[in-house]
Amino acid sequence: MNSMVDALIVVVLLLNFFLLGTSRLRAVINASAAQGVLLGILMFFMHVDFGIKAVLIIAATIILKGVFIPSMLVRAMRDAAIRREIEPIIGFLPSLLLGALGTGASLLFAKTLPLAPQHEGSLLVPASLATVFTGFIILTTRRKAISQTVGYLVLENGIFIMGLTLILAMPFMIEMGVLLDLFVCIFIMGIIINHINREFSSLDTARLSTLKE
């Protein structure tokens, strides 16, 4: 079971690099959706006892992260008629290098934290930190509102991986809270993306600079 979990986590980490190095928005959205589905499958392998609750959470995770949110983003992308992230603040190659450095640093940092016996040797904690870091890079270095939203999703995915370590000890409520947060947040962001679109006829947040100091 543990080797399966680690294999899936390696795929999640590879997707991080793909996300950092791609300019096509459609591919980026798909990669983040794939990551979401992988997290749902990961949860499947982590759950020891299968209650109705566990099945519900897994299904909700996969549908929200893998289907619902990506399709909303794709629609926003079509409405705005943009396909690529052009001229990110940091180029794709440098951000890939930064991501690699971040992943390495996460592995080192996670070593300094004492783990519970059931997580010895597991990749969960470093993968969580590395994914959070990847999300941060995308969030801060891309100019398009859609890319920034994807960055936020990746960041949330990273936090979700951390949540997996607690899955047996954590109450149901928090897990639902995570999903709800994600759903509503993106929902509202979607509304705003539409408004930004109407007002600026572009989803380039660099144009949102009237309020710069």
Binding site: I174, F200, L208, T210, L211
Partner: protein, 477 residues
Amino acid sequence: MLLALIIAPLSFAVITFFIPHQRLRAIMLPIGGSAHLILVTITLISPQIAKPSPWLAIDPLNRLVLGLLSFLFFICSLYTPGYLRLRANRPNRVFCSALFAFLATMSLAVLAQHLGLMWVAIEACTLSLAPLIYFNHNPRSIEATWKYLLIGSVGIALALLGSFFLSYAALATGKPVSLFFNELVSDGVHLSRPWLRAAFILLFVGYGTKMGLAPMHSWKPDAYGEAPGLVGALLAGGLTSCAFLAVLRFFRICLAAGETAFAQQIMIISGLASMAIAGIFMIGQRDFKRLLAYSSVEHMGILVLGVGIGGLATFGSLLHLINNGLTKAVLFLAAGNIHRAYQSKLVNEVSGAMRRLPISGALLLAGFFAITGSPPFGPFISELTILRAAIANNQILITVLFLLFLLVVFMGMGTQILAVVQGEPSRAATNTNIKDHFLTVAPIIICCALVLLLGIYLPTPLVNALQVAANFLEKTL
């Protein structure tokens, strides 16, 4: 009873949403605001009525915040009908409902005794504020809302990661995990130290973003600048106090775990940095609502600095929480009136507010003197208490920097505020014929009188409540 504090505003939100008439919706706010204040007063006076559950309870810390929050909302709700009359051309359905939703989620966040429940409440609160900031529906307010949502969501995401880390700190010891604050405090000694430290940093950054501590404050000037004045008052006095409460809860866990020096150091450095950055950005700020936002950054800095110094300063800091909340309401509401009358919030276009709007102008000036810590207003007492504690602890460097930053802020803010209130009314003054109206100044006068009263005389019940709260926070020392 405690549940009623959350359900009442929530049902008001739903009712208001379905009221078809603009004016009627505006009148619902004072009704709902007073209902909440009455409920809170009953709960605070006779605690036996409130049946605490493990999830929701009144404790010495949150009763202060709850009282402040409810009173602040009451003042703002009295102000709302007068304000919305000036904005009759804007649909107010979502605005009024969102105000009630904000009150409900804030009450939940304050009363919550569980790490996860508090997090969910603060997240919901963040969302309910978005339509309030977006009220004006123009490009500038979209930009402000986008920034607020994005930075706010990242903050709240980091707070969640911090919560997970804290849970793991409990899990790593191999004991059953409980995420109720009281149990985290009583089990504090057993928490895994490296995880706890990492968790505190993440939680401090996360909830610090909500408070608007530098350098995570960049959403604040935009949101406060573009949102209506009364939303600014609720943000600066309500949301930030609520986030401060969250920081205090985790600070308490750190103290219980024996990480006092570590947590205090973070609080002191971050507090001084916020004061410094606020001071720098205030100099030459040409927009008086943004100026108030930086003042909020500064005072959040003072709050965490006080708790970081500890002892008597914790008492001062908690008193300052109340003083700051009330004074911010005076400032933001008065500034909102001036903004409406001049149709501008730029210092070089607005002057002579004292003549154009005698009462709002005078209140803005009084609010300025109060917030910069001039006697005889309330903030003077609380800032002096923090200063005395720093001197008594022989923290010379902190004392000097604290005084220096206060001076910089006083000068930076003073130049702009005086330019607004003094002189001849500028050309922008004739943009509208809006005058001071009973409905838009009376609530501010009540608030200002209270700030003055707190500076002259501290009622014994309040002093006791503050002392109990300070002991509650630090009793594990």
